[in-house]
Symmetry: C2
DNA sequence: ATGAAAGCGCTAACAC
DNA sequence: GTGTTAGCGCTTTCAT
C-alpha cells in the first residue's frame, strides 16, 4: 500500500519546504497566492487530507463528540441519535456512539475509550448506578447529561424532560372521560424521574378527587417486560383498572405489546396513554394517545451546550416540556 | 485545566525513564515485575489513559470503524447499527456513524472526515449515484459495502440480501390463498436490487399462471411516500389488485401507513406482505406478514470482513437469505 | 515570503 | 532490566 500523502510528500513533489505547504493549506496570508494555488491544486490531485492524529497531538481539539446511550433499538434513542448525527455532520464534528445497555461498567469502558481518542465532548444518558465514577474518567471532556441525572464527580450541564404537566394532563383527560381507576406504570423511586412522575400522577388523581389505591401505582425497574407484565395483570383483572398511563419508553412499548397480544379492545376494554411517540403509535389501534418529547429540540440543545462559546460559570439544568398527544386510545 | 497525564508524567513522578513506563504499561516482559506493578498502580491512580493520537501517528491501527448509513430512523438501519455497535464494543473498536441521507455528496464528506481520523475500516450503504468516487477517498480504508452495491474504484467485499426466493414465496403464498391480482411495489430498475426483486416477482407470477399486467408492477425511486401513494391507488381502485407485496423498507412502511389510515381491513380488503420486520409489525392488525432480514448475522459478517486476518485475494460477495414470515395480514 | 527547529506522546531500535 | 534517541505529521516560533 502506497504511503499516505502528507505535507512533506507534497513539499517534496513540488520541491519546496513542507512549511510553505502547511501555510498554503491553512490559507495563511504569508504565502504568495500563486504558490498557494499551486499547492492546493496539487494537494487535491494527490488526495491529501490532513492527519487528525498529528493535529490532536499538538493539542488542537479533535472535534470528536461521544454519545453514550442505552441502545438504538428504542425509537426515542434512535431518533435522538439521528438528530444529533445530522447536527454533527453539519457542524463538522465526529460522532462516536457507544451503547451502554444501561450498564455502569460498559459506560466506564466507553468513557475510557473516548478519552484515549482525546474526545472533546460527551453527551450521555447516564446508566443507573449507586457508585459515582472517578473524576479521571471525564478529564478534559465537556460533559452533558441527557434525560437522566446522575451524581457526577463534577458539575455538568444536563438536559431533562419536564413531563409532570403532561402526566397531570393525562390524568385530567382520562378523568374527564369518566375513568376512576387509572393505573400508573412507571420507574421506581430510585430514579428521580420515577419519583417526579409518580408524584405528578398522585397529585393529579387527588386533584380529580380520585382514590389512589396502592395497586394503581405500579413502579419498578423500568423495562419492556415490566410494562408487559403489569398490563397483563390489568387485563386479567388482577389489578383493577380501566386505564393505563405509562411513565417510560420501554414500559409503554411493553404494556402496549401485552394489550395487542391479548387482543384488548382499546379504549373500550382499557384506555391507554403511552410514553414517547414512536412512529407506529400513530397507526395502531387508530392511533395511541401518548406523551411526546421534542426530540429535535433536545438534540439541538445538547449540541449547543457542547460548543465552547457557551461556557457559563454555573451548571445549568435545561428542562424541556413534553406534550400530551390525544389520539384514539383514550 | 491540569495537563493530561502521560507516560512522561508518570516517569517523572516515579523518577524513572518514560520508556520503562511505556514497557510496563504494555506488559513487556523486559521490566522487573515489581517495577511494573508499581507503575501500573501509579498509572491507575493518576487516571492515565494512552493517547490514541500518538499511537496513530506511529502508524498503529486506530481501530476506528466508520458506518455510513442513510439514517437511523428506519428501523432496519437502527437495528443494524445497534448490532454493529455492540460488536464494536466487544471488539474494542470505535464506531463512528455518519448519516448520508442517501446523498453522494454527504457520503463523500463523511469519507473524507473518516480519512482524517485514519479510520481503519468502513461499512457503507452506498448512496445511489451515477458518479464513481475517486479512489483517493478510500485510501487505506478497508471497505465493505452493505445491502447495496455501487461501482467503486477498487474491489470491495459486499454483503447483500438474497430476497428473490422470499419474494417468490410471497407470490406462491398469496396465489395459494386464491389471489390473482397481486401488486408488487418496489424500487426502480436503476437499482440492481430493484431489478432482481422485480424479476423474481414476475417469474413467480408466471410460475403460478397469473397474468402480469403493467399496473401490477409498480416501481419508482423507493420511498415512504411512494409506498403510501401506490397503496392508496390500490385502495381507491385506481389500481386493481387484491394483494400487495412490498420490495423495500420505506415502501413497506409507507404502504402500511396508507392502509391503516384508510382503515382498510387486512387481509379482507387487501392482503399485505411487508418488507423488513420492524418490531411493531408483529403487533398491528394481528401481525403483518413480511420478509424478514437476518440483521444480527449481517452485522456479524460485516465486522468479520473488516478483521485483517480475513484478507482474501478475491473480492467476495456475501449473500444472506431473507425469510418470509407468515402472520395475519395475508 | 519562505525555511529550520522544536515539540506534542508514544514505541522500535539501539545502547549499556 | 533500564535508558537514550529518533521519528511518525503538523504548526508555532524564530530566523532569514
Amino acid at each position: 500500500m502506497a504511503r499516505s500523502v502528507t505535507i512533506k510528500t507534497i513539499a517534496q513533489d513540488l520541491g519546496i519546504s513542507h512549511m510553505t505547504v502547511s501555510r498554503a493549506l491553512s490559507n495563511s496570508p504569508n504565502v504568495r497566492s500563486e504558490t498557494r494555488e499551486l499547492i492546493q491544486k496539487r494537494a487535491a490531485e494527490l488526495g491529501y487530507v490532513r492527519n487528525a492524529a498529528a493535529s490532536a497531538m499538538r493539542g488542537d481539539t479533535t472535534r470528536i463528540v461521544g454519545l453514550l446511550i442505552p441502545n438504538l433499538v428504542n425509537e426515542f434513542y434512535a431518533r435522538f441519535a439521528n438528530a444529533l448525527a445530522i447536527l454533527c455532520e453539519d457542524n463538522d464534528l465526529h460522532l462516536i456512539t457507544h451503547l451502554t445497555n444501561d450498564d455502569a461498567g460498559r459506560e466506564r469502558l466507553a468513557l475510557m475509550k473516548l478519552r484515549e481518542l482525546q474526545t472533546s465532548a460527551v453527551i450521555m444518558v447516564p446508566a443507573p448506578s449507586v457508585e459515582t465514577h472517578s473524576a479521571h474518567l471525564f478529564h478534559g471532556i465537556k460533559t452533558v447529561q441527557f434525560i437522566r441525572t446522575q451524581k457526577l464527580p463534577f458539575d455538568a450541564d444536563s438536559i431533562v424532560i419536564e413531563d409532570a404537566q403532561s402526566i397531570k394532563d393525562a390524568v385530567h383527560h382520562l378523568a374527564a372521560k369518566g375513568h376512576q381507576k387509572i393505573c400508573y406504570l412507571g420507574g421506581h423511586a430510585l430514579l428521580s424521574s420515577g419519583r417526579e412522575r409518580k408524584a405528578a400522577f398522585i397529585a393529579a388523581m387527588e386533584t380529580n378527587g380520585l382514590p389512589v389505591r396502592d395497586a394503581l401505582v405500579q413502579t419498578a425497574v423500568p423495562s419492556f417486560n415490566m410494562g408487559a407484565e403489569r398490563a397483563s395483570s390489568i387485563l386479567s383483572g388482577d389489578i383493577d383498572a380501566s386505564a393505563i398511563i405509562c411513565g417510560g419508553f420501554e414500559i409503554s412499548n411493553g404494556a402496549l405489546d401485552a394489550c395487542l397480544k391479548a387482543d384488548a379492545r382499546i379504549p373500550d376494554d382499557l384506555a391507554f396513554i403511552g410514553y414517547g411517540d414512536p412512529g407506529f403509535y400513530r397507526w395502531i389501534q387508530g392511533g395511541i394517545t401518548t406523551i411526546s418529547l421534542p426530540i429535535e429540540t433536545l438534540a439541538a440543545q445538547a449540541l449547543e451546550l457542547l460548543t465552547p462559546k457557551n461556557a457559563h460559570l454555573s451548571t445549568q439544568q435545561h428542562a424541556f416540556a413534553t406534550e400530551l398527544i390525544l389520539r384514539n386510545s383514550t
